[in-house]
Structures are given as structure tokens and as C-alpha cells.
């Protein structure tokens, strides 16, 4: 459908084929562009290379920040970690984010069910053999009811937070049940390097879905600490940045921008709000030719005069 059909001002743009022409070699233009872009690409790649910071393995996490691993394990058991209290699509622990009155996250449903305490901590530890104290601790844990489990793990989490330097080794004495043993053995399991495999190949030989290890890693503080040091935090324009001084994804600037300003930067529903706003802006961008006012903006901005220049006497320069 033509624009004219939607406009009070009729679109009188004449057919391009009615204008006089001049020779124009499209193929030559494309080949020259290929050569120039090829040289530019090669030069940029040779001079600046590309970033490749090694992925954080669960073993390297355990080695670099053992206290964080223990704290994370306790939080998973207590049900207070990010993933354990997330809501859809992992569990029913919260309503999730809303877009105004619309609980879009909840509507998405729990379609990747993850029981953080059992699937991220207990099940991998159940594979460990020959450790009687761990076996006893797991039996005690599994025979207790949910309230008791939450009480032990919650108390241990609070004690770690209250300990000097949040060091699990300096935790005050208390009734933590089997949680300290479970958390300590979880750290040992992570240090051996076998935890990743236990989280990814539980149901299949091929490990191509990293959902569980990534949820576990992001439940800890270490990943975010490392990211913030690289200026990748959400409030550091991190979504469009990349490790090192590389340009990253500058085309995400608008999406990233909203996270830096209120009300988005302080809202519990920031993601839903930003996505909703970006959806509206994207629709406006795509259907710009049909939006009265906006579609006429270029004529009034006058930048077109730099493209289609006119002579001093006002006649067309082309």
C-alpha cells in the first residue's frame, strides 16, 4: 500500500525511472567496495586482533574464590540464591517481573525446571563415593523436612555473611545441621573439575546445554566481580561493552541506555519495562513510513540538502 493512501499530504514522489540518467557501474562499485572493505577488515584484524578471555571454569572459581563457592552452595540449599528465588522459567519461587499489570514472566511458564538445592548441589554430591562423613551429611539432609533444611542452610548463610571477610572458615558456632559439611564437600567437588560435567551430562552424554552451570556460576559473586572489573556491569553500559578495549556491540546503545536512567535503573521490573519500551520503539522504527509527523521529519530536518545539493541559483545541482 502506498504512503499516499495514509497521508493527508499526498505522496507525489515521481517514479525514479522518469529522470534522466547517467552511467553508473554497479558491479565495479561492488568490487571496489569488496576490495576496500577486505583491506580494512584484514588490517583491523591484524592490528587489533580480537578478545578471548578464557571462560571461568567451576574449578577455577573454586580455586580463586573458595569462600564464594561455599556461600553459594549454602544459598542454594537455603533457597535464597538468585536462581532458587527466580521464578519462571526455572521455578515458582516468585511472580517474576511484570510489564505494568501484565505478569509476562509468569505467563512464560516454568519450562526449564531447575531445583537449585537438589540439582545444583545435592545431586552432584550424591555421585561422590567413599566419603562417609558426606554420606552421613546427605542422609541427614534428605531425612529432614523442608523447614528444617531451610533453617539450617539459612542460619549458615547468615553466619557466613556475619563472619570476618565472609570467610566460611571463621563462621561462629551454631546449629547448621549437615550444611557446613555439604558446602565444604561441594567446594572439594568443584576443585576437582568434575562438577561441570555432573551438571551438564546428567541426562545426556553430549554437553551442549550450559544452563545449570551458568545459573550456579551467576548465583555466586565471583562472575560479577570479574565482569565489573572489565566494565561489563549493567550500570556500566556493560551490555554493549566487551572485555578489553574492544568496541563490543555499540549498536545496542539504545537498549543499554535505558538501564542507566530512572525509572528503569531503580525498578524491580527494569528488564520487562526496557523490553516493553524497546518493543514499542522497534515497531515505530519498522513502521516509520506510516507514522504521521515522524515520516515527514526528514523533509524538515533539511539534511537531505547535503545529499542533493543545489547550485547557488537554487537549481538542482544534479
Amino acid at each position: 500500500m502506498s504512503i499516499a493512501g495514509h497521508s493527508k499530504r499526498k505522496d507525489n514522489t515521481p517514479d525514479a525511472h522518469l529522470f534522466p540518467t547517467r552511467p553508473y557501474d554497479l558491479v565495479k562499485e561492488f568490487v571496489v567496495a569488496l576490495v576496500v572493505v577486505g583491506i580494512l577488515t584484514g588490517l583491523l584484524a591484524a592490528v587489533f586482533s580480537s578478545p578471548d578471555r578464557k571462560a571461568i571454569s567451576l574449578a577455577s572459581w573454586a580455586k580463586a574464590a573458595p569462600g564464594d563457592v561455599v556461600t553459594t552452595a549454602a544459598a542454594e540449599l537455603a533457597g535464597t540464591s538468585t536462581s532458587a528465588s527466580y521464578g519462571a522459567p526455572y521455578n515458582h519461587a516468585s511472580e517474576g517481573q511484570k510489564l505494568g499489570p501484565l505478569p509476562l514472566q509468569k505467563w512464560g511458564g516454568v519450562r526449564i525446571p531447575v531445583d537449585s538445592a537438589n540439582e545444583l548441589v545435592i545431586t552432584p554430591l550424591n555421585t561422590v563415593k567413599g566419603d562417609s562423613s558426606l554420606t552421613d551429611a546427605l542422609k541427614t539432609w534428605q531425612s529432614a523436612n523442608a523447614d528444617k533444611q531451610a533453617g539450617w542452610a539459612g542460619a549458615y548463610s547468615d553466619a557466613i555473611a556475619a563472619a570476618p571477610d565472609a570467610d566460611p572458615a571463621k563462621v561462629a558456632k551454631g546449629d547448621y545441621g549437615p550444611v557446613p559439611v555439604i558446602a565444604a564437600r561441594f567446594l572439594t567437588l568443584a576443585e576437582t573439575g568434575s562438577l561441570e560435567g555432573l551438571l551438564t551430562t546428567g541426562e545426556t552424554f553430549y554437553a551442549v546445554d550450559e544452563t545449570k552451570p551458568l545459573l550456579l556460576l551467576s548465583d555466586g559473586a565471583y562472575l560479577e566481580d570479574q565482569a565489573r572489573a572489565e566494565h561489563l556491569g549493567g550500570d556500566q553500559w556493560g551490555m554493549m561493552n566487551e572485555t578489553g578495549s574492544y568496541p563490543g556491540q555499540p549498536w545496542m546503545w539504545l537498549y543499554t541506555f535505558w538501564y542507566q536512567v530512572k525509572p528503569f535503573s531503580t525498578s524491580d521490573n527494569a528488564d520487562a519495562l526496557v523490553w516493553g519500551l524497546m518493543a514499542v520503539l522497534t515497531l515505530a522504527f519498522v513502521f516509520l513510513p506510516y507514522i504521521p509527523g515522524l515520516r515527514s521529519l526528514p523533509r524538515h530536518l533539511g539534511v537531505h540538502r547535503l545529499i542533493w545539493r543545489r547550485r547557488a541559483d537554487g537549481t538542482a545541482g544534479w
Partner: protein, 235 residues
């Protein structure tokens, strides 16, 4: 002796040929001339975007052939990855310049709204494709970007369908699904550009021409169809 029946409008082949001719009339697919007002550097960025896309595809193809871990362990692989990264950066730079140029020219005028829409959707599709590329790097960037991006997708209820923590799914979207969709959009965009030609300046009036010496592609194509129909009917 049997006589060979002339093709008619009922022929699927004739109908397809006529449809193609109507879409891009002969001579318009690769014209050797352009309207006189096409005389600015801004027009270069469309073809520059295409050229960069070629390098994105070729470097991506090499990375695909060698496998997702190759570039972490081989210096040649790392260089190929670098060309992939920088060709993507150039691709977006040229595309954004092309986009702004098209905006300032209000390039949707004169029945070109669909040209704008296909370009805009291709731009958004390119962002999605690049995003899945960052998720498929299997390094620290991928870990951080995926764990952050999941919150946005989950907040609007689509995180399970498009699970950014599932590396296998993201890699397939990146190397197959999105490039195919993007490829179709780019081809459609170029066909539409060629069909309608470059948008004339605001308020430009073409030199007066008689009805008979005008070359209006759509009309020409329709006339060709009519001639073909008449010809078939006469036979």
C-alpha cells in the same frame, strides 16, 4: 502430426516468469545507469554494507567448518575470528550510515515503504545474529552476556524458547537460522531497491516526457503480460 500448444496464462512457468518480470523488470536488476540525482557518497554505504556482509559470511563459514573450539587453540583460527569480528563491526557501521542516509532522504517515499521495512527488519535481525555470536564464543564474554541477557528474555516470558544459557541452541541460531532469515531479508531488500529505483529528491520534478517514451517498469511489465496474453489468445 501433433501441434505444439503455445503456453498460456494457465502455465505455471509463464505465470512465474510474468510475476518475476513484474517484480524486477528486465534491465532493472543490474542497470548500467542511475538517475542523475544519485551523486553522493551516502549511496556507497548500501553496497559497502553488502561487501562487509560477504566477509562476515566467509569468515563465519571458515569458523563453522573448523568447529567452535578452533579459534581458541589456533593462531590462524584466532585471526579468522578477528576478521569475523571486525567485518561485523564494519558491517554495522556501514549499515547504520546507510540507515541514517535513508532516513534523511525519507527513502520510503514513492511506494518504497516495504523497502524501508525489509531494511529495518534486517537491521534488527542483524543485531540478533550478532548477539547470538557473542553467546557462541564459549569464553568469559559468553558467560557474562548470557547470564545477564537471560533476565531480559525471561522477564517477557520468552527465555525458555530462546534459552541464551543453552550454548548448543544459540550456536545453531547463529550459524544457521538467523543467517538464513537475514539472507532472505537482504535479498528481498535489494530486489525492492532495484524494482523501485533510488528515491528522488524532495519535490523533484522529472523533465516533461511524452506518455509513449516513458519507461515505467510496472507499466512495462504489465504491458508485456498483456502482449503475452494477447499473443497466446491469438494462437
Amino acid at each position: 502430426m501433433t501441434t505444439h500448444k503455445a503456453p498460456t496464462e494457465s502455465s505455471w512457468t509463464v505465470r512465474l516468469r510474468n510475476r518475476l518480470s513484474r517484480t524486477v523488470p528486465p534491465g532493472q536488476l543490474l542497470p548500467d545507469s542511475q538517475p542523475v540525482y544519485v551523486r553522493s557518497w551516502i549511496y556507497v554505504f548500501g553496497v559497502a554494507t553488502l561487501a562487509a556482509l560477504m566477509y562476515v559470511l566467509v569468515s563465519g563459514l571458515v569458523l563453522t567448518i573448523k568447529g567452535s573450539e578452533w579459534w581458541h587453540t589456533s593462531s590462524l583460527g584466532h585471526f579468522v575470528n578477528s576478521t569475523h569480528l571486525w567485518s561485523v563491526e564494519l558491517f554495522f557501521l556501514f549499515m547504520v550510515l546507510h540507515l541514517w542516509g535513508s532516513f534523511f532522504m525519507a527513502a520510503w517515499r514513492g511506494r518504497r515503504a516495504l523497502t524501508w521495512i525489509t531494511g529495518a527488519v534486517a537491521f534488527i535481525g542483524s543485531i540478533g545474529t550478532a548477539f547470538t555470536g557473542y553467546l557462541s564464543q564459549s569464553n568469559f564474554d559468553s558467560q557474562w552476556i548470557s547470564t545477564q541477557a537471560k533476565d531480559g528474555l525471561n522477564s517477557v516470558g520468552i527465555g525458555a524458547e530462546f534459552n541464551v544459557l543453552n550454548t548448543g541452541q544459540m550456536l545453531l541460531w547463529h550459524v544457521m537460522l538467523l543467517p538464513v532469515i537475514l539472507g532472505v531479508l537482504v535479498v528481498l531488500h535489494i530486489v525492492l531497491v532495484r524494482r523501485h529505483g533510488v528515491v528522488p529528491p524532495f519535490d523533484a520534478v522529472p523533465p516533461a516526457q511524452t506518455e509513449t517514451d516513458r519507461v515505467v517498469p510496472e507499466r512495462s511489465a504489465v504491458a508485456a503480460d498483456e502482449r503475452a496474453s494477447m499473443s497466446a489468445g491469438q494462437k
